[in-house]
């Protein structure tokens, strides 16, 4: 069956975990920065 363009290439468990951890870390970092800027905006 031809692959749909939406499907990504299967990876190993380690690669998947690493990718997820990286995205989670980035999301948390962005969230903390957002909370900081929201606080500044609310104070203003």
């Amino acid at each position: 069956m031809p692959k749909s363009p939406k499907q990504h290439v299967p990876q190993s468990v380690d690669q998947i975990r690493r990718g997820r951890n990286r995205v989670l870390a980035l999301s948390l970092g962005a969230f903390v920065i957002l909370i900081f800027f929201i606080s500044i905006a609310k104070m203003g």
Binding site: M1, P2, S4, K6, Q7, H8, P10, Q11, V13, I16, R17, G19, R20, V23, L34, F37, I38, I40, A41, K42, G44
Partner: protein
């Protein structure tokens, strides 16, 4: 091409891999979400009060997270139905690339976080409307209406109509006539938009037992109803131009709405007055109408924002 889903035996033999982040993103229906974000942003920008850019960004982020969470709940609930439909069989859950518990937990966290952040950072009224929209889509539409009545998309269409209302309330802190009219426009747009699609994927819906209008009432009735909704949408889309008070839109929006809605009606007339020529009918007018309906909503709301910033 046939789609295959992993059987329970195969799934037991090959336990699923941990969820890839791209599958979690796919769970949020990013393409649908783009329209939700855009209409929410337009509601926020078209509001008479200005909002701090950081708070505006946060409001849109909350709308996106809420819509994504509701979409993920929808896919979690409908995983078995999706597996039986060609259009949806490639989604992560029917493909077995994601387990249902992860999908449910991810959806729950997104929904709760979006409502909480909206309440704390923006306003609890906007958060309450966001929560209502999530429950409306995930429970009222997905669980209750969709498997029971051919009017599912008529009533359930309200779920997709909330974003401009939420955006407006995030900016102003209150509900007024304009965001209610914007809600009504999307509400009226949803049935012809969705039924154009349902006409050419009718067999898929019939196969999984979902009572979509073309399956239950037949194609002729659905085509007539598409036409009726498109006729009603024409004056409704121009209503923001005629609203009393200082909230009303200007001529840029009004003329754009009349032109765009007339073209929408043109597509609806083509679909409404034709019949399927046979099993090999490519359903081109229906596909064109579905594609135009998406462009229509983008263009209509873009015109509203342009009109707000360049008043004539």
């Amino acid at each position: 091409m046939t789609m295959t889903s992993p059987t329970p035996a195969a799934a037991a033999a090959n336990p699923p891999l941990p969820a890839d982040w791209r599958d979690l993103i796919a769970l949020t229906k990013p393409r649908v979400m783009s329209l939700v974000i855009f209409t929410g942003l337009c509601g926020l920008l078209a509001a008479p009060q200005h909002i701090h850019p950081v708070l505006g960004f946060t409001a849109i982020l909350c709308i996106a997270m809420g819509a994504g969470g509701a979409a993920a709940l929808n896919q979690w609930w409908e995983a078995d139905i999706d597996a039986g439909m060609k259009r949806t069989a490639q989604r992560p859950l029917p493909q077995g690339r994601l387990d249902r518990t992860t999908a449910r937990d991810f959806a729950g966290v997104l929904c709760a976080a979006s409502v909480f952040l909206m309440g704390v950072a923006i306003s609890w009224l906007a958060a309450a409307i966001l929560a209502i929209s999530i429950v409306y889509y995930a429970v009222v539409y997905t669980i209750w209406l969709k498997p029971r009545t051919p009017q599912n998309i008529v009533i359930g269409g309200g779920a997709g109509a909330f974003p401009p209302l939420i955006g407006w309330v995030a900016a102003t802190g209150h509900i007024s006539a304009m965001p209610v009219v914007l809600f009504a426009i999307i509400f009226m747009w949803t049935p012809p938009h969705f039924w154009a699609l349902a006409l050419y994927v009718k067999t898929d819906y019939a196969k999984v037992g979902i009572p979509m209008m073309p399956v239950v009432a037949g194609e002729r009735s659905t085509r007539r109803q598409i036409l009726v909704y498109a006729i009603l949408l024409l004056p409704l889309s121009a209503l923001p131009w005629w609203l009393p008070g200082d909230e009303h839109a200007g001529a840029i929006y009004g003329v754009s709405a009349l032109v765009l809605s007339s073209a929408f009606l043109g597509f609806a007339i083509r679909v409404g007055l034709r019949e399927r020529t046979g099993p090999d009918d490519a359903m081109k007018p229906e596909k064109q109408m579905f594609a135009y309906s998406i462009l229509y909503l983008f263009a209509l709301f873009a015109a509203l924002v342009v009109d707000r910033f360049i008043p004539l």
